[in-house]
Amino acid sequence: MDTQLSRVVDALPGLVWTALPDGDIDFLNQRWCEYTGLSVDDAYGRGWQTAIHPEDLPELLERWRSILAAGEPGEMEARVRRFDGEYRWFLFRTSRLADVSGPVVKWCGIVTDIEDRRRVEEALRAREGRFRSIVDGLPALVALLTPAGEVELVNRQVLEYFGATLEELKARAIGPRFHPDDREDVLARWRESVETGHPYDFEARLRRADGAYRWFHTRGFPLRDTDGHIVLWYLLQTDVDDRKRAEALLAGEKRFLEMVAGGHSMSEILEALCHLVESTASGCYCSVVLVDPSGTRLEHGAAPSLPASFITSIIGRPVNVDSGPCAMASYLNEQVIAPDLTSETRWAAYAWCPMALAHGLQACWSTPISSTAGKVLGAFAIYYDEPRAPTSLHQSLIEQFTHIASIAVERAQSDAALKRSEAFLAEAQHLSSTGSFSWRVATDEITWSEELYRIFEFDQGVPVTVQLIGTRIHPEDIPLWRDVTDRARGAGSDFECEHRLQMPDRSVKYLHVVAHGSRNQDGRLEYIGAVQDVTERRLSEEALGKLRAEFAHVARVTSLGALTASIAHEVNQPLSGIITNASTCLRMLAADPPNVEGARETARRTIRDGNRASDVITRLRALFSKRDATIESVDLNEATREVIALSSNELQRNRVVLRPEFADDLPPVTGDRVQLQQVILNLLLNASEAMSGVDDRPRRLVIRTERDDDDRVRLSVQDAGVGFDPRRTNRLFDAFYTTKSGGMGIGLSVSRSIIESHHGRLWAAHNDGPGTTFSFSIPCKPEGVTSAHRDGAIRTPAVTDPQYFAVHA
């Protein structure tokens, strides 16, 4: 039996041993001796210990002792040296050999080779360690959660971020780790994932150990067993704070640009910007000040979170380096950083720092806001209630903010300017009864100004079509209008026309249309034009025609008044000679002896002067005799000489130096001599009058006759007077227009009528030097004019009855 048992023991696939209750070995099987190379004698007692790896021995013995003490079976692991010196891992299993009731009789054990298993385990452990270090090294928060959502394991980043140990994390509630604004959503989503097993994907702010919140993107995946039950949740949380901030800023920027485009007021936009910066860089206060239009003072922009008393003490300060950081930044167009106002020495002249400190502010960073053209519009300031210097984050915020602010301010300013100019334009259009339009020919798209709607009496905003316009065109003018528009469609050149409108109440309006055609990049034709309501002008022209006839009469009277003095002088001169000579003659005859020869001479002079006076009267009678327009051949030189003779004293009295420049070969003209002389007289007196205030240069007057182009004769009267306003050239000839208190203006309008009735024209032009030249040009006498043609040779002035030009003597 013993032998057979011994064979069995030796055949067991393990090293078998027995030991006494005190632990000494008293049996080892054959395999043990073969493996260790120790003989039974060597190994008995405590000799076996030499085969155990020295590093493992103490623990093995310790364990063995405790097993012995407990009297319970146990297991130990240790490396055992093989006969060839190689150590392999073995599992020591031991149990009691005992009587049923009694104490331990003996211990037996089996030692099995677990080297291969240990190797696998070690490899596994090494791999796990590597994974662990990888997970710990991941730039993300990684957590393993139980199916119920309880924390099981986290990586190093989690511990560092929250500043807690795993145990603390396990013990604490999950909610407070999130930003209060996100908490509810986070928990709801997490509960949903836990209940449904759907992956979790959410972004929320996590509270860092130092209290700051950062945005994390959290993704959770369930790990399922083969039956599909969730055994674990993997949670990967990535820091997306920078991205979120960038997104928020971008969204903010987009929102602000929308606000700018949407016409929000500048102060609204600037306030919203301040709020954005304040919420992005927590703990700061923002303000915007603007540079006033004169560029010398600060104006309020926005400061939603700063005390009003602080702002009021900043605005109105001069833009210079001394009055404060914002004024300085605006003045220098560069950033001004004051990280600690308690030690700041600038702006002392205006006591800025004490003022800011009194409001609890200790740091100020002010940055200029510049237009695209580089002009400083204002300054943006960030304040802190503790000393602080800007970080790069702050700087990028500031850069972005000032950029948007500059857009908002510039836009607001250009909007205001645009509104002003639009208002001016609308006002100007209204005042001048002028509307403007654009017309895209290909599509017949028509845009109208407000005033044009008013002129056409259409409701504002009604879409304007060619057909709609057609309903207002006066029936008689429709062919004209069609013709003009048809030609405009084809030609693409500018057009101008006058036509009438017939309004629903049958009233008629006169319109003057001017349009300029141009082609856009696509070659499409577009007209930009102006439409003026000239109804009143037309009506007043008609009324004026009547008035002008009446005033021509007044003109004659006025001219007479001006001439009276001249005539008196003209007649008095020869009269004076006559009387003096007659007196002399008498005295010579009364002398003793009488001076007969002298008397004869003076008598001759008396006769001569009498004739001279008679000539004057004859000329006056010719000029002022009652007569209708008479058509005759007129030598303009001769006619002019007569006028000069008649007015020479008037001219002399005004100290006018008159220089006639008459062309020798001047052909005769056909016309009414007296009417033409009236015109010449009028021009001479006007010229004389125009120089009455001239004292710094000769009052030179040149009257010139010459041949003009196209068989015409021209007469010019050139003065050295004060001239007239070039913008008023056309008005010079208006019946009521005069630049002089003397009131010769009416004469000009009548003069023009006379010249036009002679198929000529009368105009005024500035001299190169001082003064003005008035000229008229009329046709020469046509060949072979006979009395039969006379009636048709001169057109009666259109609006003036010719009889008014003749003076009733």
Partner: protein, 124 residues
């Protein structure tokens, strides 16, 4: 004893006056010089000798009143009788106020002229 006749100068741009008036004045027994402009008179040698000046008001160039001013500046206090073919009721008082002896409107009578000359020469 021969008394040198007093010199009366006539300044008038009108030729008929320069022609007729000196003859009349000579009939009165004056020596006469006639000038066609104020400038011509001022440039002549007769300014100092002139006892009375018969002066047209409106002349091209220097006017009668301007000549009067000029003479005052030169401290040549010659009595002046203005004559004019052009004037209204305000002309004479204005001239008298400015120091003229008389102001006659053309045409004037020989008696009006001699009366004015008498005043002028008495004042002298």
């Amino acid at each position: 004893m021969t008394v040198e006749p007093a010199l009366v100068s006539v300044v008038d741009d009108d030729e008929s006056v320069r022609e007729s008036l000196p003859d009349l004045l000579r009939q009165f027994g004056f020596a006469v010089q006639a000038f066609s402009s104020a400038e011509e008179f001022l440039a002549s040698d007769y300014v100092r000798q002139t006892r009375c000046l018969i002066l047209d008001i409106a002349m091209p160039g220097m006017t009668g009143p301007e000549l009067q001013q000029e003479l005052m500046l030169r401290r040549q206090e010659i009595p002046i009788v203005f004559i004019t073919a052009y004037g209204d009721e305000t002309t004479r008082p204005r001239m008298l106020e400015q120091g003229a002896v008389e102001c006659l409107f053309k045409p004037f009578s020989d008696t009006a002229l001699i009366a004015a000359l008498n005043i002028a020469l008495r004042a002298d």
